[in-house]
Symmetry: C2
Subunit: 252 residues, 2 copies
Amino acid sequence: MSQTVDRALSILPLLAQGPADLGQVAERLGVHKSTALRLLRTLHEHGLVYRQEDQRYRLGARLFALAQEAVENLDVREIAHPHLVALNDRCGHTVHLAVYEEQEVLYIDKVESRYPVRMYSRIGKPVAITVAAVAKLLLADLTEPERRTIAEKLDYPMYTSRSTPDAAAFLKELTVVREQGWATDLGGHEESINCIGAPIRGADGRVVAAMSVSAPNVVVTAEELLTLLPLVRRTAETISREYSGTNRPKKV
Amino acid sequence: MSQTVDRALSILPLLAQGPADLGQVAERLGVHKSTALRLLRTLHEHGLVYRQEDQRYRLGARLFALAQEAVENLDVREIAHPHLVALNDRCGHTVHLAVYEEQEVLYIDKVESRYPVRMYSRIGKPVAITVAAVAKLLLADLTEPERRTIAEKLDYPMYTSRSTPDAAAFLKELTVVREQGWATDLGGHEESINCIGAPIRGADGRVVAAMSVSAPNVVVTAEELLTLLPLVRRTAETISREYSGTNRPKKV
DNA sequence: AATGGGTGTTGCATATGTTGCAACGAACTT
DNA sequence: AAGTTCGTTGCAACATATGCAACACCCATT
């Protein structure tokens, strides 16, 4: 592992919290100011860091562009997108697509609700991993020891009274999800919002992504939302088939 | 400038084009495989790079999370957001917010159209700088020599027959925009889409961001869209006032 | 005006960290 | 079983990043 690069990259999350000046960066990195300056300069040349008028540094434009290009190159997303739009056309609610990566679950696509009341979420935002339907689906597919390890490492914030309280409850929920092949989040993240989700599988049957439909109580009740389950599962299966088809060749 | 960091960061745009294996990365960087390996490992530890099952590398999750945090900390965006939503409530069309940074114009916020026909765009995506209304507004505020330098450096792709053809036309357009205090893009990027935009100014009167309303021909004609101009300008001015107010202290 | 604290910046010698090499191991082909 | 191709490791030689100290600059204070 490279020390210099390591230090340079440590600057990024630091600046994500808000702009900082040279001194602050140097201090928080534990290096001399001149060192921090050179690292920042290099980051700047690559556009990852921007220098605002007051000379303080903050994250730069290219970061967005990179994240952008990256997400557009995900083939699951590309295949799934039209189906998500079609689903949104039929039911009107917010549709999400998420993947699991390095201990995190994150949205990689979203089709906004057509109803005026919308939920807050954004592509790239890490998902509330202990309660979200898509998170349950993605984690449920891991091996038993993997699930165990992760479940123990997680925090279990009580967003609402119906949030998953601890590792034991979470593991149990994952088993249920694994067996039934779909998942819900009934007010576990925000009191008034319910979600139902289904897994998208690759050719080998492993879950490569998960999709969900979310709607606030004020638009449809949880029971009404559940009537959409067959539709959601069918959509997920259609995407799975298409993805497995195009992705058939094992070596690329 | 740091050579090691420079090399490591050069990997990112390379991977943005698509996944690559160790050998390809090493070759395109012009370094030994072992060197590339160590750089990739460091990037990996910071989550900027992800290793998929076939061992190839691609851009990683934390990149999204970083871009995410960064965009949420932009104070213009925070102040503007509710106003953009309110504007969308009144007219129903897509509303964009953009800033200029390091020779690029990029969207930092977006409220989706409530109409079924939507335009394609995404937060973080660089804007078609020669035609977009927001780009004209942001560039029009630069000094004359700056505008000239940039205008000459740009390419002028003819997205449609109404795209800005060359630097001369662009500079002329910028002068117009500068004087009238608002801008349009009538089918200059996509034949069927029109936009109108207005600038958001800081306490010193300089343009810090630009907003626009976009709608396809099939929903409203260009003339109808133009009737929204007063509303758009009022919204921009409201945001400007609020931004100048909270941002008053010159030194932070 | 002059002083002082606060920035960001530069040149330089030291030694630390990075580099490429060559050799190994694993997975897959022939 | 021999032969590819790819990722990985240890090591010695060198290049490179590092901290220091001094400088330049801006602003506030006296």
